[in-house]
Symmetry: C2
Amino acid sequence: MSFWKSIFNSSPSASTVIPLESPSQSSPTEADQRNGTSERRIVFSKDRALDLYELEELCDAVGWSRRPLRKVRKAIQHSFLVMSMWEERGTSRRLIGFSRATSDHAFNATIWDVVVHPKFQGRGLGKALMQQMIRELRREDISNITLFADPHVVSFYSELGFTPDPEGIKGMFWYPNAK
Amino acid sequence: MSFWKSIFNSSPSASTVIPLESPSQSSPTEADQRNGTSERRIVFSKDRALDLYELEELCDAVGWSRRPLRKVRKAIQHSFLVMSMWEERGTSRRLIGFSRATSDHAFNATIWDVVVHPKFQGRGLGKALMQQMIRELRREDISNITLFADPHVVSFYSELGFTPDPEGIKGMFWYPNAK
């Protein structure tokens, strides 16, 4: 797990970073000294000025259907929170994760489009990305954080504190041809 | 059901109206002539300049917990779609239903706070309100319309074309104290 030890905030204005499966939380300076500046680091950013082609590549990597970039741009613009996850090495950075949430800015938020690059899965990064989302939404005083989970990720979200069908509440989707 | 026959659009700029369980769809003029101008009518509006105290009264009537009006105002401001339903008689109008949706303006919308005054329930007005919501969201090219339904209204939404847990997708809620 030494790969993920050198995690710190390299761009404080737009980014926040959380430690990942590190036994002790090191300050950026300590981590920097221990690992050197050319080490790989994971950085989270709320800045929505993303390269949409890079995002499309990430979504391609997990096999999602392509969506018109015009609509993707609009969706990002009108999301309450957009979180991207980057692998940084020296001055280069690579988009390895993404998530966003719609919200009424007051009570409810719904998380959509959670994606982690396959090469970076299985290392707690999806969990870290979601914890970052929850932290930001809570910081904005959103009390009701919701999502719609595919069957194979229900246990993943359960471990993060999400409950399926609480008190029998059902997630429902409208289909144009259903009625 | 003659009570609900005289439904027409009295305020075209801000409102739209749909016929409610009327065997034949009449034009506003025909309905007006048949029923007279002092008849009760149901009007739908997307105008979000609501009296928040009137909305609170409506929510009180169905037993919802009170919420700070400051946050309710913010939530309405940041909702993609806000739909109110009114009973109009002559020049007076009364708020009898409400619903709103958050959205990314591109792909997804989530419907919240669907309420119909108890005195007006059981007449197809909740259905009409939801159909109006769906129509508007579809008009805005939103393909994924979602909601979270309490157990006792799952069948109501099913009849409108909503499917619970499609392909095993689970609605999930995050609880601060769960983890």
